[in-house]
Subunit: 165 residues, 4 copies
Amino acid sequence: MRKTSHPCPLIAVIGGSKATPEEAAAAETVGRVLAEGGAALVCGGRGGVMEAACRGAKAAGGLTIGILPGADRVEANPYVDVSIVTGIGLARNAIVARTAQAAIAVGGSYGTLSEIAYALMFGVPVVGLGTWEIKREGHPPAPIVYAATPEEAAAHALALARRGE
Amino acid sequence: MRKTSHPCPLIAVIGGSKATPEEAAAAETVGRVLAEGGAALVCGGRGGVMEAACRGAKAAGGLTIGILPGADRVEANPYVDVSIVTGIGLARNAIVARTAQAAIAVGGSYGTLSEIAYALMFGVPVVGLGTWEIKREGHPPAPIVYAATPEEAAAHALALARRGE
Amino acid sequence: MRKTSHPCPLIAVIGGSKATPEEAAAAETVGRVLAEGGAALVCGGRGGVMEAACRGAKAAGGLTIGILPGADRVEANPYVDVSIVTGIGLARNAIVARTAQAAIAVGGSYGTLSEIAYALMFGVPVVGLGTWEIKREGHPPAPIVYAATPEEAAAHALALARRGE
Amino acid sequence: MRKTSHPCPLIAVIGGSKATPEEAAAAETVGRVLAEGGAALVCGGRGGVMEAACRGAKAAGGLTIGILPGADRVEANPYVDVSIVTGIGLARNAIVARTAQAAIAVGGSYGTLSEIAYALMFGVPVVGLGTWEIKREGHPPAPIVYAATPEEAAAHALALARRGE
């Protein structure tokens, strides 16, 4: 059977449902550059960093997918094209991480940390922008690529997602 | 905040990962008519009825979303545009049902029955085509709309999804 | 490595979170007879049929396990010994079905139907007591054992759970 | 309605399915001291740290609950009394964290990190023993209590679990 190619890589932007103005601006730029680079955006579908990233992606004509924790599509931010209504609460963080071919963490709190952990578990490349640093004595360093700017973060993720295809 | 309208209703086609030739033909027609009617198709992303429905939708230029049970996007059929890689096994049936604005069951076994049950639980309209009949003494009849042809099934689902918007 | 034997078979009682007096009385008897027969009770942990079954099991000194849909153990009924707090909503129905070595459905609505469907999918024996009847043309009859009394339902489930060990 | 008291607090031990001899010894001591302190043990039900903790708990006559990722109870380690067969893969980490009244992380890799993150998200107290350290600039320090010995870790967790009751 012919396997048609995926129309575009899926790249996750993960981060808090509340964002500082700086985080929101960074996420919006990340979303825009990902869309310009031909990626579809996957995220948790809510506000804050997720909404800013979706807004950026839509401004560049990209496709946005929101994997919602709750039971109703109305909780999606207004820039989500496709709402996946999981109803499984924060266990949906595992799905966001698995679905992506690379993930960019922008700021974030413990939810973001769980998504970073899942991505690392599943072998999904992780790019960090002002986010968690983790270490454990005796454990190899986590392969998180830290970026200094949103443009750099998006470029890294696009390259890493394409390498995995 | 301005709520942009969903680009199109999401309609689920549910059915077995193995299909008889008749079921596959019916599912393909359903997928095609849904796409012609402006709906995006959501399904479990695997073979059988799901693949036939996706093939029909793609033939008409529609968008197809596969909510996969396993841990790898390669299990998606070749007509899935957006693969949601849940990794949660058959518990993903709840997500397929919640994500849809209407669902069409084509044939199917117990997995399909679970998705019908979830859709009924969540108030998602269900259209049946050669699928389960259910009854319980003392319980109101389940509001499943049985259709005689794939065209009729798709038309019912399109009307029901729009009514709920 | 020595595999210690499971202390007792786990048998699920599934049914509505609201119950008629007759259903509650039946579920309580089922719970009591299961505990007398040496089984631990697994259920969704909420009210109605679940609570009545747990009350019956505790009256006979049995162990009760509630697999809760929500995010807080306070939603467990007062007769649950071990609360599993899933937070995954009604997708937890798949876990109730998988965890059991046999399941008894008492009355119930669409949630119960989803659990019956999952049990049938997973090869878990199902005993029905005043619950759903399902059929599909061209599909083999579902192997649900219908019982006439709670005592008979519990006896069937105990025998079926032991056969699978 | 009378709310019967929970028979005992549930405390999670989280850690890798492979363990160094030192980690296994620590986990076994943790499990034993928790059981001596009257707690039931909840864990992911597999090998390594989870198995060692269960072995310790059983040696002291405690109750052990394994929340398994896979679809079959045979994957439980031999010291699990109650197997919860989730079938939802590593999304079950959210359930382990939610179900516990306190959690002790022993060593561990990214799976353990995800459970730490979930526990912090859900407000479940976390005790660390040779495990991850996390920090993010601008984020308050994570309230993880680091212990120097297994006895100290178990004592902290028992105290923290009781405080939350």
